[in-house]
């Protein structure tokens, strides 16, 4: 379908259902359609898979954001879909804001295009992003943003906050800064944020936030990397984008986006796979940038844009008892494997913890555990998937410990608690460097 609408908004939709991307080269069919568009200034990418319930809101927010904040620029929305069977792509095609008056937006928008295309390669968010990067390169885009398709809290302002630092302040990478419930984002809080900060020296609070802004230059750099057969093609994409930007000295900032609220899903259904994919990317990047992170001795704040405010967040149910029982089971049944991965001292402390009351996993021990995993991954002491999957029960133990610690804490106290955790990772960095070789 190729539909050119000559209305004041000049909306046209290109549906490239049959397109195929091999390697980093788009098929002629896709290229031809992109040639019709020529060049564009702004690109917003939305990866999707069966998000029919939520994607219309995201598409409207993107269109309104572009119309309100970048009316003079040529913009394009890319929906990179993983083969949805719930008519997600039809919804994206049909969703249009016809009347901007209720949004107090003047009808003065330039050209807004929309491409709905399936991605190819390993099923996952990373493969969807690869298609988006490719199209950004083809259209010589100045600034890009990617946003999740299951967001309920996205507003037009998100687009401004993710794009403007790139266009007007020459930043290459804009990381999101959200308000989240103190029990949410636990992989970020307990592993990714402390490790990224300690290793690369940048205090990026949500390195795997998932909604990012970046320059066309950086999109091209991402595309030049040969990582699309690894876990980067799945959940590992977020940490890979952030780390690649930081480790290669691209100019990085954060934008305050407010609350992040997703569509409801079963959060524990694929925890182990999610944790494995994210940590696999994290450790793979440690291999690639070992000479860089070894030199980093201090951490620096990263500029934060946007007007900060606080919001009331929905309560989150936590079953700490179940987490602790999973931890105990892991220590009991996986001890032979854990002895190969962890240092003798760490293993001894873990055994002591599993029988202690009240349950508490100290930050120093947790930092050493994560570094031991990085070292085991580096040395490939066994199948890397097996190494990473044994982390799940230990991670649940640390989450249980943090949840117990933060039960009565306010948002500020939670940040202070996480600051202490980050400092433990920074303190233990010498432990990592000593054992890395």
């Amino acid at each position: 379908m190729y539909n050119f609408n000559n209305s004041a908004k000049q909306l046209f939709i290109i549906n490239i259902q049959g397109s195929k991307i091999e390697g980093v080269i788009l098929r002629d069919e896709v290229n031809n359609k992109l040639k019709d568009i020529g060049e564009a200034d702004i690109l917003v990418g939305i990866p999707s898979f069966n998000n029919a319930d939520t994607i219309a809101h995201v598409v409207r927010a993107v269109q309104a954001g572009i119309a309100k904040y970048f009316p003079d620029m040529k913009a394009i929305l890319i929906n990179s879909d993983g083969g949805s069977s719930d008519n997600t792509h039809e919804i994206v095609e049909k969703t249009i804001i016809e009347d901007f008056q209720p949004l107090l937006i003047d009808q003065r928008q330039n050209i807004f295009s929309k491409i709905v295309t399936p991605y190819h390669g390993i099923p996952g968010k990373g493969s969807a992003f690869r298609t988006i990067f490719q199209i950004a390169r083809e259209l010589n885009i100045k600034a890009c943003a990617v946003v999740d398709s299951d967001l309920r809290s996205i507003t037009p302002e998100w687009i401004d906050l993710l794009i403007r630092p790139v266009l007007q302040r020459e930043f290459d990478f804009v990381s999101p800064y959200y308000l989240r419930h103190k029990y949410d984002g636990t992989i970020t809080n307990s592993i990714i944020y402390p490790v990224t900060r300690a290793l690369y020296g940048k205090r990026i609070r949500q390195p795997i936030g998932g909604d990012f802004g970046f320059s066309g230059r950086l999109a091209e750099y991402y595309l030049s990397k040969d990582v699309w057969e690894s876990d980067v093609a799945r959940f590992g994409i977020d940490i890979w984008m952030t780390t690649t930007a930081v480790a290669n000295d691209f100019k990085v900032c954060q934008s305050f986006l407010g609350a992040k609220i997703h569509a409801a899903k079963d959060p524990s259904s694929d925890l182990s796979a999610m944790l494995t994919q994210v940590c696999s990317s994290l450790f793979m990047l440690m291999e690639e940038y070992s000479s860089k992170w070894k030199e980093v001795t201090k951490t620096d704040p990263v500029p934060l844009f946007g007007f900060q405010f606080s919001v009331g967040l929905e309560p989150v149910n936590v079953n700490v008892e179940r987490m602790i029982s999973m931890f105990d089971l892991g220590i009991r049944e996986l001890s032979e494997l854990l002895k190969e991965i962890l240092s003798i001292e760490s293993m001894k402390e873990l055994i002591e913890i599993s029988s202690s009351e009240p349950f508490n996993m100290p930050d120093d021990l947790w930092a050493r555990i994560i570094y031991d995993y990085a070292i085991s991954f580096h040395n490939k002491i066994m199948s890397v998937e097996h190494i990473l999957k044994t982390l799940t029960p230990l991670y649940l133990g640390k989450v249980a410990s943090l949840v117990t610690d933060m039960a009565a804490s306010s948002a500020n106290e939670v940040e202070e608690r996480l600051e202490a955790l980050c400092q433990a990772f920074e303190k233990q960095k010498s432990y990592l460097i000593e054992r890395w070789e």
Partner: protein, 228 residues
């Protein structure tokens, strides 16, 4: 009269004299084999060391298997020894063939035809052991992450099932009690499954009830954390 006694001796010494050059050729072949085996052992050991075979075999678990069976030498040395004996054995067989003794020739032919089966059986056993360990470990980790209390038992079951299948295949290849081994395996395997079913059904009624109650209780206490 004297010739009656002397003639057999003459014939005997004549045969020895006729056999001597053949024996000498056989001995020379074996001596050459010794030299070739020694040289190849040195060369193969050095190449194995260069390719870092010792740490690779340690990592994939082959060394653990060999150590359990009493072999303490590093893998590079073992490969060298294997090459040494294969080469030497080949030369001994060639040497024995050179003697042209019909009974020995038949025996050697049968042995040579059986050697590939022995090698294949050994390969199946090693692969079965490694695969059993790998799958057992994968089952252990997956079941722990799924919160199954009997993870250790599941892991052992997977590991031994794979290994028993490998042993059955190896014995079948060697032609040792082909049908007997297969039937025995089927009986043992079926028996284990039946025993487990009975154990869970009769002995584990309370445990099953407790497990279901726990599951239902957990369902009532949802966990809404978004990990990522």
């Amino acid at each position: 009269m004297g010739s009656v006694f002397i003639e057999p001796f003459k014939k005997f010494f004549g045969q020895i004299a006729a056999f001597f050059p053949t024996l000498l050729i056989g001995l020379i072949i074996v001596a050459l084999g010794l030299a070739a085996a020694w040289l190849l052992r040195k060369a193969v050991t050095k190449v194995s060391l260069f390719l870092n075979i010792d740490s690779i075999s340690d990592r994939i678990g082959v060394m653990q298997l060999l150590q359990k069976s009493g072999l303490k030498d590093p893998m590079s040395k073992l490969i060298g020894q294997l090459v040494y004996w294969v080469v030497l054995l080949s030369f001994i067989i060639i040497g024995l063939n050179a003697l042209k003794i019909p009974a020995l020739e038949d025996l050697l032919t049968e042995f040579l035809l059986y050697v590939p089966n022995i090698i294949m059986a050994c390969v199946i056993l090693v692969v079965g052991y490694l695969l059993g360990n790998f799958l057992g470990r994968a089952a252990l980790i997956a079941s722990v992450n799924a919160g199954i209390a009997l993870s250790g038992l599941i892991s052992k079951f997977v590991k031994f099932t794979v290994f028993i299948i490998a042993v059955t295949m190896a014995l079948e290849l060697l032609g040792i009690g082909e049908d007997t081994v297969l039937i025995a395996f089927a009986i043992v395997f079926g028996g284990v499954v039946l025993a487990l079913a009975l154990a869970f059904g009769l002995g584990g009624r309370d445990a099953a009830k407790g497990y279901i109650d726990k599951m239902l209780k957990e369902k009532k206490e949802p966990d809404d954390i978004e990990h990522i």
